[in-house]
C-alpha cells in the first residue's frame, strides 16, 4: 500500500509540473520553477515568524505569495532594466534565498526549520503523513489530497485558458494586437507555477520539482510536433517516471526522489537518441539506408 501512495502522489505531482513545464520551456523560462522553489524560503520563514506555527497551510500561503513576488521581480528586471531573462532569474532567486537563510539563522535558529526540511521534502514519508478527520477517520495521505487538488486546478486552468496560453506563448505581440492581455496570462501562468512548485516541493522536494518541470516536457518536445500531443506525452512520461523511479529506488535501496529524477533524465536521453524524427541514432540509420540505396543504383 505504501508503494501505491508514493507512486500516486509522485504521479500527480509529475503531471502538474510537467504540464506547466511545457509552457515554461516554450517560453524559454524553464528555470523559473527552480527559482521559485528556492526563493520561497523567506516566505516560509516569515509565515512561521508571523503565525508562530509550522502549520503547513500558513506556510503554503507565505511561500505562494513570495513565489508570485519572485516572478514579478524577474519580469520587472527583464522588462524595465532590460536584463536578459536568465540573468534576472539568477539574480532574483539567489537574493531571496539568501534573505531566507539570514532570517532563519537570525530568528528561527532553534526551530526545526532549515533548508533540509524546506528544500528537500521526502516523498518516502508520504504514507506516514495522514489526513485524519476530526472524527478520527483516516482519509489517506495528506500529500495525495494536496497534489490531487493542485492537478485539478492546473487541468481546469489549461482547459479553459488553452487558446490564450497557446497564443501568448507563441506570439505575444499578435496576442496583444487582438486584445488578449499577455501580462495577465503571464501572471496567471506564473501563479499556477508558483502554486504547483510550493505545494509539490513539500511533497517531493525542490530538486524533483525542477526535474519534473523540465525533463518530461523536454522529452515530449523531441517526440512530437503537435502541442496537444506534447501535453499528453508529458503527462504519460510523468507517470512513467514516478513508477519506474519508485522501483529503481526500491531495487537499489536509494532515494526515491533521486531515482525519479534519474529516470526522467534517462528517458530524455533515450528520446534524444531514438526519437522517430530527430533522434541521433535514427538519423544515422536513415542516412545509412539512404547511402546503401544510392550505392545499389
Amino acid at each position: 500500500m505504501d508503494a501505491f501512495w508514493i507512486i500516486l502522489s509522485g504521479s500527480l505531482v509529475a503531471v502538474s509540473c510537467g504540464l506547466l513545464g511545457c509552457y515554461l520551456i516554450l517560453r524559454k523560462m524553464a528555470m523559473v520553477g527552480d527559482a521559485i522553489s528556492h526563493a520561497v524560503l523567506p516566505g516560509i520563514v516569515l509565515a512561521f515568524l508571523i503565525s508562530g506555527s509550522r502549520n503547513s497551510f500558513v506556510m503554503l500561503i507565505g511561500a505562494g505569495l513570495i513565489g508570485l513576488l519572485t516572478t514579478f521581480l524577474i519580469e520587472f528586471f527583464h522588462r524595465k532594466a532590460k536584463l536578459q531573462s536568465d540573468a534576472s532569474i539568477g539574480l532574483t532567486f539567489t537574493w531571496l534565498f539568501a534573505v531566507g537563510v539570514i532570517l532563519i539563522s537570525a530568528f528561527a535558529g532553534k526551530v526545526d526549520l532549515d533548508q533540509d526540511c524546506v528544500l528537500y521534502g521526502e516523498i518516502a514519508y508520504v504514507p506516514i503523513d495522514l489526513w485524519i478527520t476530526g472524527a478520527g477517520q483516516i482519509m489517506g495521505p495528506r500529500a495525495v489530497y494536496i497534489s490531487g487538488s493542485v492537478l485539478l486546478i492546473i487541468l481546469l486552468f489549461i482547459k479553459f485558458g488553452y487558446k490564450e496560453l497557446f497564443l501568448t506563448t507563441f506570439d505575444p505581440a499578435y496576442a496583444t494586437s487582438i486584445g488578449i492581455s499577455t501580462t495577465l496570462w503571464h501572471y496567471l501562468l506564473m501563479g499556477a507555477v508558483s502554486l504547483t512548485t510550493v505545494a509539490s516541493f513539500e511533497v517531493v522536494g525542490a530538486i524533483l520539482v525542477v526535474a519534473l518541470m523540465v525533463a518530461p516536457p523536454a522529452t515530449a518536445y523531441l517526440l512530437t510536433e503537435d502541442f496537444k500531443k506534447m501535453l499528453a506525452y508529458t503527462a504519460v512520461l510523468g507517470i512513467v517516471v514516478a513508477v519506474l523511479g519508485y522501483y529503481l529506488a526500491w531495487f537499489m535501496n536509494a532515494s526515491i526522489a533521486g531515482a525519479m529524477s534519474v529516470v526522467a533524465g534517462i528517458l530524455f536521453l533515450a528520446a534524444l537518441l531514438l526519437s522517430p524524427k530527430e533522434g541521433i541514432i535514427t538519423k544515422m540509420l536513415r542516412n545509412r539506408a539512404l547511402r546503401n540505396q544510392t550505392q545499389s543504383i
Partner: protein, 262 residues
C-alpha cells in the same frame, strides 16, 4: 506633402514615440482613406515598424492619439489585424500551419470558447487563399521563410478584419510569392479593406501601392503615390545618399504616372 482625407479609416494625431528618451517618431500627423493600399517607406531606423506598433498599442506613445474607424483602438480591435515580422516568433514551436491560422479566429471567439467547425473552415479557406492548403498539417519549422510568411498572412485573413497592418510581409520572400501576396492585397483593397504595409524596396513601391507614407523619424509625406513618391521628397526622406538617389531619380522618371498592373 501631407494630404489629409475626410472620414479616414485611420487618424494619427501628433504621435510621438521615444525609446529611452531618444525620439523614434516625432509629431506624426496623418489620415488615411478607406480602401487604399498603403506603403510605409523610409530608411533603416526611420521608425516604420515602430509606427505600426505604436498604432497597435504594442509600444507606448509619448504623446498624441490614434483613432481607428473614428473610435479608440480598443473599441475597434475586432476590425484590425496585425501581421508581425516573421522573425519575431520562434518557428520551432510545436504547431501546424493550421494551428497558427486558427489563432486568427481567437479574437472573435472570446474567453473560454474553443474554435468550432466554422472557424476551421474559415482557417482552411484562408490557407487556400495564400496557396498553402497542401501544408495545413505541416509543422511550421518545416516551412520555408516564404511559406511561413504566407501562414502569417492567412492568420490575418482569418480575422476578417477591415484594416490590416503588415510589418515587412515581403522580407525573405521569393518573387513569385511576393507577386501572389500583392495580388491578394489588391483584391482585399478592392473590397474596401485598407492595407498598410511596411516596405523596403523602392523599385516596386510605385507598382504596389496607391498611397505612400514617407517616414524618417518625422513624417515627410503622406499622399497618393503620384504626389508623394517624388524625387524631392525621397531626397528629403533618405537624406542625400547619392548612389541611391540617382537610382531613385531614374525610377521616378521611368514611372512617371505609374501604370498599375491589374
Amino acid at each position: 506633402m501631407i494630404q489629409h482625407v475626410e472620414n479616414p479609416v485611420l487618424e494619427i494625431h501628433d504621435l510621438t514615440v521615444t525609446y529611452n528618451k531618444k525620439p523614434v517618431l516625432w509629431g506624426i500627423d496623418l489620415t488615411l482613406p478607406a480602401g487604399s493600399l498603403v506603403g510605409i517607406i523610409g530608411p533603416n531606423g526611420a521608425g516604420k515598424s515602430t509606427l505600426i506598433k505604436s498604432v497597435m498599442g504594442l509600444v507606448p506613445s509619448g504623446s498624441g492619439y490614434v483613432r481607428v474607424f473614428d473610435k479608440t483602438l480598443d473599441e475597434s480591435r475586432g476590425r484590425i489585424s496585425y501581421v508581425p515580422q516573421r522573425e519575431s516568433v520562434d518557428w520551432d514551436f510545436p504547431a501546424s500551419a493550421l494551428d497558427i491560422v486558427l489563432m486568427g479566429r481567437y479574437g472573435k471567439l472570446g474567453l473560454f470558447k474553443r474554435p468550432r467547425k466554422a472557424d476551421y473552415e474559415v482557417a482552411e479557406d484562408c490557407l487556400r487563399k495564400v496557396g498553402m492548403e497542401g501544408f495545413k498539417n505541416r509543422q511550421i519549422s518545416q516551412l520555408s521563410g516564404g511559406q511561413q510568411q504566407r501562414v502569417f498572412l492567412a492568420r490575418a485573413l482569418a480575422q476578417e478584419a477591415d484594416l490590416y497592418f503588415m510589418d515587412e510581409p515581403f522580407a525573405g520572400v521569393d518573387a513569385s510569392t511576393e507577386k501572389a501576396i500583392i495580388q491578394l492585397l489588391r483584391e482585399m483593397t478592392q473590397k474596401g479593406k485598407t492595407v498598410i504595409v511596411v516596405h523596403h524596396d523602392l523599385q516596386s513601391a510605385t507598382k504596389y501601392f496607391n498611397w505612400i507614407i514617407l517616414l524618417n523619424m518625422r513624417l515627410v509625406a503622406s499622399g497618393p503615390v503620384e504626389t508623394a513618391f517624388t524625387e524631392a521628397l525621397l531626397q528629403e526622406t533618405y537624406g542625400g545618399k547619392l548612389t541611391l538617389l540617382s537610382d531613385v531619380s531614374d525610377l521616378v522618371q521611368k514611372n512617371q504616372f505609374p501604370s498599375r498592373e491589374k
